[in-house]
């Protein structure tokens, strides 16, 4: 990841005009939209269930939303990375297509059973996407500079923690499938952990920028590696305990893993001390062993992971069906509308990757994983390009969140690691996840815009946190 020369230009020099590459973004967006239209048509051909006018309106709305986002980026974040928006849009569209495809399967089944047609999920997902776009636009409008966020570091930290524990609150907290991740307000349910991960990433970035000098101090050397002072261990221990708390009280293995992994990675980036990684790794192992012996649900996950076939009809049913689906997909896939992705329970949320793998094959899955890789890579590129430490940490943290979440859920669905309940960013059915991930995209766009912006005289919005930029 090379740092563009323009960005490195010393303050005060005139910079030549930087191409905004917004037209490239527009072309890629049109391509992403076309993929969605083709997918919709193919499902119609394959299933015989012709897309109705409501679906075509949906397709049109998706296109319009993409154009709105593009327009806002052109206006408010002109120099932002041109790949972030199209890639996230394409993933969202793939998710919508697959959710629609599973709707078709559910409708077909209902027709055969002569039972009432189920409510299609694709339209409510479109509603969530619209909400996500509104928030995306709001972020770009209201947040002129990401450094403003740094002022509210502790507010975000507090809000993030509150959101994290909110599902445990009486009345509004809800337990679904054994995990307490939801809050219910009125007719809506929401997974606050999704939003919490953004708030906590902002908090980690702000906090670590402030404290990294002391956290980077070395007291003891062991095997040639410097370890931190004992009194600096507080933060990591708190993070560890919070993660364990999430696991114990909410039974949410995925979120627990995600938070701890995120914190340790950001700690390492901020301090550049590998000792934090080693410490974090050790604490992870201790936590994992503790969890395995202390909690039946964790033990069950591991047992099923090691030998799903023995539990093919009960606890391992999902993962076994997922593997069967993937196997059925093979290299080129069964084709959209031609597999049996509906055999996997929760096919449109946790297991949407199994559904995509079955119908688009390993070819489609690899393409999809590479889309995530592009997204993460562009995020990390923004991180190394932006000038302020807070922006660097924030962009890196958001990218890492995305990457870890993709790894944990897809690894789980494909039996690389034990299965944990996490949503698949952009693809899964569900509002919280979609909204949260689009806010991440908005933040990354904002940071990358800042990084690539050619203006040289842009005063910091907050003189109090003037950076001593350390380049390594």
């Amino acid at each position: 990841m090379s740092i563009p020369v323009e960005v490195m230009a010393p303050v005060g020099t005139t910079v030549r005009k930087q191409p905004s590459r917004r037209n490239l973004e527009l072309v890629l967006l049109i391509f992403a939209w076309a993929v969605g239209v083709l997918g919709t048509l193919q499902i119609g051909w394959a299933s015989g269930v012709e897309p109705n006018s409501q679906l075509w309106i949906t397709t049109g709305v998706v296109g319009a939303l993409a154009l709105v986002m593009h327009g806002v980026v052109r206006w408010k974040a002109r120099y932002a990375d041109p790949f972030l928006l199209p890639v996230a849009t394409l993933l969202t569209i793939l998710g919508l297509v697959m959710i629609y495809r599973l709707d078709v399967a559910a409708i077909e089944r209902a027709v055969l059973n002569e039972s009432p047609a189920p409510t299609p999920d694709v339209y409510s997902q479109l509603t969530w996407f619209t909400v996500a776009v509104i928030l995306f636009v709001s972020v770009l409008f209201l947040l002129r500079d990401h450094r403003i966020l740094q002022r509210y570091t502790y507010t975000f930290g507090f809000a993030g923690l509150v959101l994290l524990v909110l599902p445990l609150a009486p009345i509004i907290g809800t337990t679904v499938n054994g995990a307490t991740l939801w809050i219910r307000l009125g007719g809506f349910s929401f997974q606050p952990a999704e939003l919490s991960k953004i708030l906590l990433t902002i908090f980690f970035a702000g906090y670590l920028v402030e404290k990294r000098d002391s956290l980077a101090l070395v007291r003891t050397k062991f095997l040639g590696i410097g370890f931190p002072r004992l009194k600096d261990l507080g933060p990591i221990i708190v993070a560890w305990l919070v993660s364990l708390g999430v696991l114990i009280f909410q039974r949410d293995l995925g979120t627990s893993l995600l938070f701890f992994g995120l914190f340790v990675s950001m700690l390492y980036i901020a301090t550049q001390r590998r000792s934090w990684l080693i410490l974090g790794g050790l604490m992870f192992i201790i936590g994992a062993v503790l969890a395995y012996f202390a909690f039946g649900h964790v033990r069950l996950r591991v047992t099923v992971w090691l030998d799903p076939w023995t539990y093919a009809n009960d606890d391992g049913y999902q993962i076994v069906q997922s593997l069967f689906g993937l196997a059925n997909g093979g290299i080129l896939g069964a084709g959209l509308g031609q597999g049996f992705p509906n055999l996997v329970p929760f096919a449109n949320t946790d297991f949407i990757v199994a559904a995509l793998g079955e119908e688009l094959g390993v070819t489609g899955l690899i393409a999809m994983l590479l889309l995530y890789a592009i997204l993460v890579e562009r995020g990390l590129r923004a991180a190394v390009s932006v000038r302020d430490s807070f922006g660097q940490l924030l962009a890196a943290g958001l990218s890492i969140t995305l990457a870890l979440q993709v790894f944990v859920i897809i690894g789980g669905v494909t039996r690389l690691i034990p299965l944990t309940g996490l949503t698949t960013p952009f693809l899964s059915y569900g509002g919280s996840s979609l909204i949260a991930n689009w806010i991440i995209v908005a933040l990354l766009l904002r940071i990358s815009d800042r990084a690539r912006r050619p203006e040289v005289t842009m005063p910091s919005p907050d003189e109090a946190v003037t950076q001593v930029v350390r380049r390594v």
Partner: protein, 480 residues
């Protein structure tokens, strides 16, 4: 902070590679294993997800796929299950497929290379392949007549169109209901299958083409054909027909079925010997002609040969190295001579078709999902079993059997029917097997039929009593 970010990026890259390798292993390397794993419904669902093409008799789909509401999308239904069971077979979740369901599977599922154009279309349209239709050669009324005739008996009927080899009827009794075996309820399937297997009537045996019985006196058609072919005998040649025939090199004797001599002075013409089904005359004839001549004649008519119609028929046999007494016994369809109903129908059909044995077949044509004909079976000659002159002479002799001899129950007013009765012992204590082989109208036969009824009475008359009426009913059904 660039360096740690790069390091983290590198680690994330490793995680990405792990995911990529893992999905590739699952979807490419292990995919085959996973497909074969018990509990994987997808392979089955895929087959049951397609609309399997129908099996037609005329334009009537006797086997077709019906859409259901359960996980298996299509259910196979048979409109006249037991009637057509020996031809259609069944299509079972548990026991696989039999009959045309098995042999024509690629056509019925639409995976045959005949559908290459349709498949290309389906690929582009992303549609499920739809199966083709198989039209059988069966004649609905003949099939029904045979089925009704066999009701309550144990046996089989095969009818053939002599000029082509088209199988017009293939019926067995007892039969089974393929609907139950093709249901989506494994427990019910297993239970019914177990019952069928335990049934002494062996309903799962494809009796018309698989069950082998000694053909008894119906084999005299073959012996007579060999006699005419030798050039030493004509229908009017006088041969010995005493009350008993002493088997060569043996103390055993062959008797006539009524214990009488076949003609005045123990002499009889070949024509008359056939009409009264004279065992002693044909046993003598067998020794005169020799085993090789008999075998040659039998093989020209399809013995010692396995036919795929396309169901695989059992091979009818003429004994390999019979000594003289065994040859004499073989000449009257005893000893180790064994034939299916299909084989004896072929013998009748060969005589009827000016001596030409045709290859029998069950599939008339294959149609695509759009009902366009993709393939039609053209009749093919198996062998020239007799000269046309000898065939005409033998036909006259067989008409004489029905009009003046033992085959009286096959008479149809206004139609010249050629036929031959038969009763065979399958063992010392076993009940006899009654046969009737016939074709009509004699000069230009439209149908040749073989009826076999097992567990019949011991008398020679049982062929005429039990089997001939069924043959007549089938002939009438075709000619009507």
């Amino acid at each position: 902070m660039t360096r740690p970010i790069r390091r983290i990026a590198f680690v994330l890259g490793i995680l990405l590679v792990a995911l990529l390798v893992n999905v590739t292993v699952i979807q490419v390397v292990l995919a085959g294993d996973y497909r074969d794993r018990p509990g994987n419904q997808r392979v089955l669902l895929e087959e049951y997800d397609r609309e399997r093409g129908p099996i037609l008799v005329g334009s009537n789909p006797v086997a077709r796929s019906k859409e259901t509401g359960d996980t298996l999308k299509f259910l196979r239904v048979y409109s006249d299950g037991p009637l057509y069971a020996p031809v259609t077979g069944f299509y079972s979740l548990v026991y696989g497929a039999t009959g045309l369901e098995r042999t024509e599977n690629r056509i019925l599922t639409g995976s045959s290379s005949l559908f290459v154009v349709d498949r290309a279309e389906q690929l582009f349209a992303g549609r499920q392949p739809v199966g083709g239709a198989v039209t059988t050669t069966l004649h609905a009324r003949a099939q029904k007549a045979a089925f009704d005739g066999l009701r309550g008996k144990k046996g089989a009927v095969v009818a053939i169109e002599p000029s082509t080899g088209r199988i017009l009827a293939s019926v067995q009794s007892p039969s089974f209901d393929p609907n139950i075996l093709s249901s989506h309820d494994p427990a019910a399937i297993r239970e019914y299958y177990t019952t069928l297997e335990a049934d002494p009537g062996k309903p799962l045996l494809n009796r018309p083409i698989v069950s082998l019985n000694p053909p008894g006196s119906t084999f005299k058609i073959v012996t007579a054909a060999a006699a005419l072919a030798s050039g030493r005998f004509t229908p009017d040649t006088v041969i010995p027909g005493p009350r008993t025939y002493d088997l060569p090199d043996s103390t055993r004797k062959i008797r006539n079925w009524n214990g009488q001599s076949c003609g005045p002075g123990d002499l009889v013409t070949l024509r008359q010997a056939l009409a009264v089904s004279c065992n002693t005359a044909f046993a003598w004839l067998g020794n005169q002609l020799g085993a090789d001549a008999l075998r040659t004649q039998a093989e020209l008519m399809g013995f010692d040969q396995s036919f795929e119609i396309p169901l695989r028929a059992a091979m009818s046999r003429f004994p390999e190295n019979p000594d003289d007494p065994q040859t004499a016994m073989s000449a009257i369809g005893q000893f180790d001579v064994r034939a299916t109903a299909l084989q004896m129908a072929m013998v009748g059909a060969a005589v009827a078709n000016s001596g030409k044995t045709m290859n029998p077949y069950l599939v008339q044509e294959v149609r695509g999902p759009d009902l366009a004909i993709l393939q039609t079976t053209t009749p093919s000659v198996f062998d020239q079993a007799m000269s046309p002159i000898n065939a005409a002479q033998l036909t006259e002799m067989l008409v004489n059997v029905v009009e003046n001899g033992t085959g009286s129950n096959a008479r149809i007013p206004g139609v010249r029917v050629a036929g031959k009765t038969g009763t065979a012992q399958t063992g010392n204590d076993n009940p006899a097997v009654a046969w009737f082989v016939a074709f009509a109208p004699a000069q230009s036969a439209q149908v040749a039929v073989a009826v076999v009824v097992e567990d019949a009475g011991a008398a020679e008359v049982s062929g005429n009593q039990l089997a001939a009426p069924i043959a007549r009913a089938v002939i009438e059904a075709v000619l009507r």
